[in-house]
Amino acid sequence: MREGPLEITDLLWHAEDGIRSPVRQADVVRLLRERGQRRAARIVAALPSSGGDLDQDAVDALGLRVHRELSRLGEELQLAHRVAATVEQLIARRGLAERPVRLLDVGCGLGHVLRTIAVHRLLPAHVELVGADLNPVLIAEAEHLAAREAPGVRFAAVDAFEPGTLVTDGSETVVVSTGVLHHVAPEELATFFSAHTALGVAAFAHWDIAPCRWSTLGAWVFHRARMREAVSRHDGVLSARRAHAGATLLRAAVEGADGYDITVDEGGRWHPRALDVLRPIVGIRR
């Protein structure tokens, strides 16, 4: 588990080998208090529980509400457009413009980015859209929404980096994520990036918040203005605070993703590019 402050949503759901286990409410509350997160502890203490365990149905419903709010925020941040524009460049640079390509969104949540790309046809038809998330409740909802408006998009509740599951031909796969990297502990980042090398993917691009005072302030403003769930507001601001610096990401990616040219596209600490509140770390196979 990461050191420092924790996001509530990371603590409410636990599964091992695909089997979900109960989460003791008191354990989560104590952990948050130990980290000095009294407000977060109060939020968790107020969640429904049964016999000392967090009520799984209530947690699932909360997870869906939080991710619906996140989807709308992602729309305002133009995440799908950002992803599509970069992926289109990566496909061209790898000479995949005429070949079938799989775009794999890791930690896709409700799959809003992929569904937006499909609905607005932001990428050519030869790009297959596949989303993966470890949370089956989110994936079930993503599938339900895709059935309504983007039937071509596929979702799976699996570990996307497990060889042979979703990446069958790495040379024709581009891996992306949005807002996932800050959930990975700094010491685990190199392992995260090394998965791309292991699978031999053509390219990757992972968007996350560029940490600085402006993004923390912006996250606070936007989560106060747009989010209703206390969990969303808490975790949203914390995401900005604990996002990895560009240099940290670059170091980890260079160490882990052997064989890739890697760049982090961001501005300076005090003068971030106003348009790039979420910036990608991009790797393209040499």
Binding site: S71, L77, R115, V119, H120, L145, V221, R226
Partner: protein, 169 residues
């Protein structure tokens, strides 16, 4: 007087509709949420109309029984002077959000729409205080205060309705 009343009514209706829109945001995660948006806009406009009734009735009775029409004119004009620039910037930002290229669209949210949503209650309350002060008539102040409370209540009430509907399945 009539021009001020009509302008205030249009602004209140727009604000109510936008409050309803904001309350409907992030409820479904659908990419095409046009139907939800329209429902939200409609619910907000209708609700603000209902909530504004007490303020409107008080003002109408006051005016019908010899109240000071000039006080309403002064209060309304002062209110508009405070709220006008805010409303104009919001409308421009919304137009920008619709019209700009996606790379620039985010700026409308980051610079205006997001922060202004947070500032909105303060701006409305300041406008109400300035309006009441300029009006110089207690009944005008009460009517203006009720109108502002009505406008600010729309989004929380609609949020509560969402929560109630959710709890009811």
């Amino acid at each position: 007087m009539i021009a001020v009343f009509i302008t205030l009514s249009v602004l209140a209706c727009l604000d109510g509709a936008f409050s309803g829109f904001r309350s409907s945001l992030g409820r479904s995660a659908l990419v095409d949420h046009t139907a939800d948006d329209r429902r939200g806009l409609r619910a907000g406009a209708v609700l603000v109309g209902l909530l504004l009734l007490p303020a409107t009735v008080i003002a109408a009775i006051d005016l019908a029984t010899g109240g000071d029409a000039a006080a309403y004119q002064r209060a309304g004009t002062a209110f508009l002077l405070v709220i006008g620039p805010y409303a104009l910037l919001v409308v421009l930002a919304l137009a920008g959000y619709r019209a700009l290229h996606w790379r620039l669209r985010y700026l409308a949210s980051a610079l205006i729409l997001g922060p202004f949503t947070l500032l909105r209650p303060c701006v409305v309350i300041i406008a109400a205080i300035v309006g009441a002060s300029r009006g110089g008539d207690p009944v005008v102040g009460v009517s203006g205060g009720l109108a502002c409370a009505a406008v600010l209540a729309v989004e929380p009430l609609l949020d509560r309705r969402w929560a109630r509907d959710r709890a009811g399945g």
